[in-house]
C-alpha cells in the first residue's frame, strides 16, 4: 500500500456554536463553519478545489446545493452519507494523493435539534422488523453490547459510568460544550435507566451545529497561516454482513486496523498522546480501547475506572467532552479537537506537548475508520 504518511495536512478548522441554532438551515450552518475554517487557515475560497460534504438530518448536506449556496466551483466534489469526518478526511486524502484536488474543504452542518429529530429511528438496518420489536435508538445496540461485555468480563455499570463522568469533566474545560454541569459517578448511578443497563448520560443528545476542516497537500502548507497537522495514517474496515458476523455488536473486525494504521503512521500506539472515539454511546469508548490495543480484551472496565482516560491520565480520551457532553456532531468535533490539541490551542484542557493523536469512528455496526494525526511527520 502506498503510504499516505505526511502527504497532506489539516490547515484550518472551524466550529460554530453548538446547541440550538433556530432560524438557520443545516446547509447555512455548514457554510458558517466553512467561513470559520477558511479564516482560521488564512486561505481564500478560491484556494479550495475540492469539496466533501456530509449528508445531515432532513436531506441536507448535498455537495451540489452547498456549492451553489457558497458559490464554489471546485474541480472535485463529493457527498458522503456518513462522514464522521474520518471517512471524509480519508476521501480528501485520496483526492489529494491522486492529484484530483490540492485543497479540500470538509464540512458538516445540522439543525436536527431545532428541526425536531426525536431519534426514534430503529437501531440498525432492516428497519421495519426492528421497529416492530421496539428496537429503537442506538442506545438499544449499545445496551446489548454492554450487557454482553459485562457477561463475558464482569464489566460493571460503575466502570462504564466513568466514561460519561470523564467526558463531562473534560467538557467543563471546553467553553464550546453544551453540557457543563458537574457529573459525579454517584450522580451517574442515581440516574434512571434509559435502555437498561444504560442511562441517559451514556447516550448523546441531539444538537445543532457545524464543523469544517481545510485539508491541503503538504507542499502547500506554507501558504496557510496555521501550524499544519499532518495525516500520518488512515484505514477503514467494514462488517457489512452485520448480524451474520459472529459477535457483531462487539465489532471484532475493527481490530484489524490496529495492525495497519500505526505501521502506516510510523509511530507505535504508545506514542499516541490523545485519543478520540466517536461516541454516540459511552460503550464505544470501551470497545475502541480494547480493539486498538490500549488495553487487553475485556480489560476496558478496570482500565477506565483507574483514571487512565482523563486529562493527566495514561491516554486522555475525548478532551472536548465527546458527543456525550460537548455536542452531537457525528464525530466531526472530535477531529477538530484533535487538530487543536496538536496545535497546542486547547487552553485548560490541553494535553501538554501533544504530538500525536488518533481518531476512531464508526458507522453503526457496519463500518469503521481510524486516522492518526501528528504535528510532525516521523521519518
Amino acid at each position: 500500500m502506498t503510504s499516505i504518511r505526511g502527504k497532506c495536512a489539516v490547515v484550518g478548522v472551524g466550529t460554530t456554536p453548538q446547541g440550538e441554532l433556530p432560524g438557520r438551515s443545516a446547509d447555512e450552518i455548514a457554510i458558517d463553519a466553512l467561513v470559520l475554517a477558511l479564516a482560521d487557515s488564512g486561505l481564500g475560497k478560491d484556494d479550495v478545489d475540492g469539496l466533501i460534504t456530509c449528508k445531515s438530518y432532513g436531506g441536507f448536506g448535498i455537495d451540489t446545493e452547498i456549492g451553489r449556496l457558497a458559490g464554489l466551483n471546485p474541480r472535485y466534489s463529493a457527498t458522503l452519507d456518513y462522514g464522521t469526518c474520518n471517512f471524509s478526511l480519508h476521501l480528501a486524502a485520496m483526492a489529494i494523493a491522486t492529484g484530483m484536488a490540492t485543497t479540500v474543504a470538509l464540512l458538516y452542518g445540522t439543525n436536527q435539534r431545532t428541526a425536531g429529530n426525536r431519534f426514534a429511528t430503529p437501531a440498525g438496518s432492516g428497519a421495519d422488523s426492528l421497529a416492530l420489536h421496539g428496537f429503537h435508538n442506538i442506545a438499544g445496540q449499545g445496551a446489548l453490547a454492554f450487557q454482553r461485555h459485562a457477561h463475558l468480563y464482569g464489566t460493571t455499570e460503575e466502570q462504564l459510568g466513568v466514561v460519561a463522568v470523564t467526558e463531562r469533566a473534560h467538557a467543563r474545560l471546553n467553553p464550546g460544550a453544551i453540557f457543563k454541569e458537574p457529573l459525579s459517578i454517584e450522580d451517574y448511578l442515581a440516574q434512571p435507566y434509559l435502555v437498561e443497563p444504560l442511562r441517559r448520560a451514556d447516550v448523546c443528545m441531539i444538537s445543532d451545529g457545524g464543523a469544517a476542516l481545510i485539508v491541503t497537500s503538504s507542499d502547500r502548507v506554507s501558504a496557510a497561516a496555521t501550524r499544519p497537522v499532518y495525516l500520518l495514517g488512515m484505514d477503514q474496515v467494514t462488517g457489512l454482513r452485520q448480524y451474520q458476523n459472529d459477535d457483531n455488536l462487539l465489532r471484532p473486525w475493527v481490530a484489524s486496523m490496529a495492525e495497519t494504521v500505526f505501521d502506516q503512521a510510523g509511530i507505535s500506539r504508545r506514542d499516541v498522546d490523545v485519543l478520540f472515539v466517536q461516541d454516540p454511546v459511552s460503550v464505544w469508548v470501551l470497545q475502541m480501547l480494547e480493539l486498538f490495543g490500549y488495553c487487553g480484551p475485556g480489560e476496558s472496565g478496570p482500565f477506565v475506572a483507574e483514571g487512565r482516560i482523563g486529562l493527566g491520565g495514561e491516554i486522555p480520551v475525548n478532551t472536548n467532552g465527546g458527543q456525550l457532553s460537548e455536542a452531537y456532531m457525528w464525530g466531526w468535533l472530535h477531529l477538530c479537537e484533535a487538530v487543536r490539541q496538536l496545535r497546542g490551542d486547547c487552553g485548560a484542557r490541553q494535553v501538554p506537548g501533544a504530538r500525536f493523536a488518533q481518531y476512531c469512528s464508526t458507522k453503526g455496526f457496519e463500518k469503521a475508520a481510524t486516522s492518526v494525526l501528528g504535528s510532525e511527520v516521523p521519518t
Binding site: R118, F119, A120, G124, G126, D128, S129, L130, A131, L132, H133, G134, F135, H136, N137, G140, A143, L144, A145, Q147, R148, H151, P192, Y193, L194, V195, E196, P197, L198, R241, Y243, Q244, D247, L249
Partner: protein, 142 residues
Amino acid sequence: MTRALLDAASTLLGDEPAIEELSTSTFVLEHCDVCGYVRLTGSPRCQHCLSLEAHVVADEGRGSIWSYCVYHRAFDPAFAAALPYNVVLIELDAGPRLISNVLDVEADELAVGARVVASIEEVRPGRFLVYFRLDVEGVQAS
C-alpha cells in the same frame, strides 16, 4: 408487557404488508440448495454463495440469548404501554441471528445464554411475527 408489545407491533403494522411478516404461524428459515447455508427469510440470494436456489424449511426456532436489554423509555409512543419491555438478540441453533422480544418473562429470568424458542404471534388477524419464550424443555433437548 406481552399483550402491549403485540399491540404496539399491530399499531405499527397498520394495514400495510411488511416484508418480515410470516404468512403462516410456522417458523421457517431458508436453506441454500447449493451450499446449504441457512438464512432468515427475505434475502433473495444466498449470502454465502450467492445462489438463487433455496427452499423454505420449518424450523423449531430454538436458540440462545446473545444479549438482552430493557427499554424504560418509549422512543416510539406505540410502545409506551409496554414499558418496561425487553429486546433480545437471539442466536438460533440453526445459525441465523435476529432481534426480537422474549414474552411472558420476569426481568430476572433474562440472561445471556438463556435458552429460548420461537413463538409465532398473530399480532393482527392473519399477520404473524416472530417472538420468543424461555425454552424450559430445550435445556434438556440441547
